[in-house]
Symmetry: C3
Subunit: 363 residues, 3 copies
């Protein structure tokens, strides 16, 4: 416990934890102050995500390289998963899908581009392990194809096709999870030497008891705050003049990935671009090949109706171009500041389109 | 003749030749047992394809490198061509188009992916000639653009546009054949040194008389069996609960490419990945740039009406993603087992979608 | 002035300048001879474009590397810009958009492919600076995404969406111009050493007075002739049996880029492929990231109504595949004659489709 308090003292981001009790209290006292709920819940989720991330890594550090890698690769996006499950329970499928597509796009464009830019402003040319980047870009490519199948091979929505979409989504989800599992085996076991350089920095790991306790406790708090967040997001978006698409794709994605971003940016500035690229693309791949299929499978038990992989064409297009951009830009294994500008501009163009979109068009 | 019998004794796949007379007899005796026709004709086509392949190579071996390469590059997919012409005569345009798109997809995803996986399970990292792979991926890319043009630049089907589609298909077919011819000149004449390593293994070549005789005789049998196959495929698909799209894309393609697959898989296990990649991508390119345009041109003379290059959007999407996958995965000139998993997963996702597709949606 | 006359004597292309007065006189005397106007104005624009190009380079040579590079990069496609502004004023938005998409496609397919072919017929294998090629392909990719956003993320045209399209087009245009400006800073200032080898050949530069005078004077003549050209293009197309799409995409683009093509082809034949690739892709990128956004911004002041970036889907598809082709084919930094055949075939397939297109389908 003392370790936890010490950590909090040293990391100003964790001071935001004060907003966790605040948001829960405000939600009870002023149940209709949606905009306030929205802002407070964002402020509360960010430090929780940082804690969750550190706790996962500590557990991983104690359990050996392979099991640890596995844990990092499945719980690394626990925040996104909890937010999405909460939205699933509330029947907000559009928000779930937008946040999945948004997280993939944000991690592989904004996070990657900002790393290239931040690193490139300090170093003339940076190098990174392109084999690892190709592996993760390959996984992302797979997920992109899966998202494109329902809308290209699949057919328009009629009664018969609703069943087709459900069955197809289940089949694709199982294939994605299988490919993800084999990918972990490949990168953590059979060809682990290819991924040298992408190892996370050694932070002081917590004792296993504290780590597990934090993992369990913080997950509960993330779930509680997510409920406030999901319940307020639509009303708040209206007040801020933001389209629901913009909130789902951009705001939720940035909030959910705050912890990974802090780590990736810091690594880029230390010329450890291997690690930055690995966090950015690995996080994207994890959401696409683990979080999304798990949500599809879970949706049969949680939430009012099963969810399919039939995404809004605009979302599919964004994921496709994000993957293509990430693939092309990481292909050479070298980076300069302008590569960051290119990738960030693609992201800003998407963000502009979503911000301007007439409210009824997306989803 | 003794050589032929000796070959048959040593290659268990050729024992299936017994099904050639069986299927022809059964078709006469039980003209409506479509499911039986379907199964028997598949069993009969596989060994005929193997014979045809060996005969073509023997003729090629006797005629010198360049003419031989030319023969291999035009008669290498004779089985697919004969099946398609038979279907064309029967007016089954949907089956023809599905089998073209299916053959391209199957060869550049299933055959390539299985080679990577089979080779990678035995060797940690395999290398192959990436210049040759790029050349064939480039040809495939060209064909993909040709297939995409009618549906993107072209317009919806009205009376005026039927003529447009026909003229455009003829023009595109001529351009594809021209590019294919120049590609042969490039790879067999002007830049032959770039393709080192992709040379086929020296099998005992047959004497030219036997080879030519086999070529002629077996082609007749393939045509006869194809007729039974084409005549039974739709009824049989119903009985098996398979969609026509699945049969056209997956079953016909796997049957037609059985001979090439045997050769490609065997090369991969002997660490001759150059040859495997060359067979898989070369076969795809040959179907896309030689078989398909020849069918379009032939369709003015054979069959009830001319065929165009206006493919079902789902088929175009599959060919596009198969080409993109093959391009990205062969780009580095190195392969590991997980590359095979990635490519095979893309194929399995397509197969799943086709299998689940409501019967009326494709075509 | 003597220098100018000397230049004209040595460059047979400039003898076409005689058509400048001819076309202006004919237009007065026979105001309805549209086909004649069309042919004469093309013959007159080509030499004007050559002069403009030489004048720009002379000014650039006198102003130091960075300012000169900047001038070349903004005035290098002045001919295209003046033609497009003239068409904008006449309210011919379809022609403007067709000529933008056509110029991008023509430069990155026809010009690049012809350079590869011409160079490859003389040299067995040619090498070029692939870092520079990647930079320009990256810029082109950015513009392609911008063109794709309105039709994928954007929505169908209703009253509400007209406003959305206008706002989105303005936002995208500003982002493209910003990325272009940062790209110039990158290639002319911070990472200039990466672009070695792409420097233009030293032609005898004109004195600054002559250069500036030519620049101003010739621009006026281009504007005058463009007016005749734009006014005659639709009627003439009918007479020639060409679709308006073919004229906009192919004819206008070839005319506008005549000067750059002459330079790029000559460099390819001298084995200076660095320069050829730089002219071809640089010119494409300049039109996509400078000319097009400037036209969108200008259209609020010039012309009857603002222009958006919502292009005809066929045009977007062509630009996308042109960019993808250019990216894949320049990726290795080496070229052979068959690479030229591949790229030219893609262009010819597009040209065939546009030529055959029923007149009402495009735009």
């Amino acid at each position: 416990m003392r370790l936890l308090l010490q950590e909090i003292r040293h990391n100003p981001l964790l001071w935001l934890l004060i907003f966790v009790p605040i948001v829960l209290v405000v939600e009870k006292l002023q149940p209709h102050a949606y905009t306030l709920h929205f802002v407070l819940s964002i402020l509360a989720i960010v430090p929780l995500a940082v804690l969750l991330s550190h706790a996962t890594e500590s557990v991983a550090a104690k359990t050996g390289d392979s099991v640890g890698g596995l844990l990092n690769s499945t719980l690394g996006n626990l925040t996104e998963l909890v937010i999405a499950i909460t939205a699933l329970q509330a029947g907000q499928y559009t928000l779930v899908k937008a946040s999945i597509a948004g997280a993939i796009t944000t991690n592989s464009l904004f996070m990657l581009g900002a790393c290239f830019l931040l690193g490139g402003l300090r170093y003339h040319v940076q190098e990174f392990n392109r084999v690892a980047a190709r592996f993760q870009a390959g996984l992302l490519f797979l997920a992109t194809v899966a998202l494109l199948i329902p809308s290209t091979i699949g057919a328009r929505l009629t009664a018969e096709n609703a069943r087709f979409n459900r069955e197809l989504s289940l089949a694709l989800s199982v294939l994605l999870l299988l490919a993800y599992a084999l990918g972990l085996w490949f990168s953590l076991k059979t060809h682990v030497e290819m991924f040298a350089g992408a190892a996370e920095e050694e932070e002081a790991a917590w004792p296993i008891g504290l780590a597990l306790g934090t993992l369990a406790g913080v997950t509960v708090f993330v779930a509680l705050v997510s409920e406030v967040f999901v319940g307020s997001v639509q009303e708040a978006a209206k007040d801020f003049g933001m389209t629901p698409a913009f909130v789902g794709f951009i705001v939720v994605a940035l909030v959910g990935a705050a912890a990974e971003m802090a780590a990736a940016f810091s690594a880029a500035r230390k010329n450890r671009l291997d690690l930055s690229v690995s966090i950015a693309l690995g996080s994207s791949a994890q959401i696409a090949l683990f979080v999304a299929p798990v949500l599809v499978l879970l949706s049969s038990f949680v939430g009012p109706a099963p969810m399919d992989l039939n995404f809004w064409p605009g979302a599919v297009a964004m994921v496709f171009f994000a993957t293509l951009t990430a693939t092309l830009v990481t292909n050479s294994g070298r980076s300069v500041w302008f590569a960051g500008v290119l990738v960030l501009t693609v992201y800003l163009m998407f963000a502009a389109a979503l911000y301007l979109l007439p409210p009824s068009s997306a989803g």
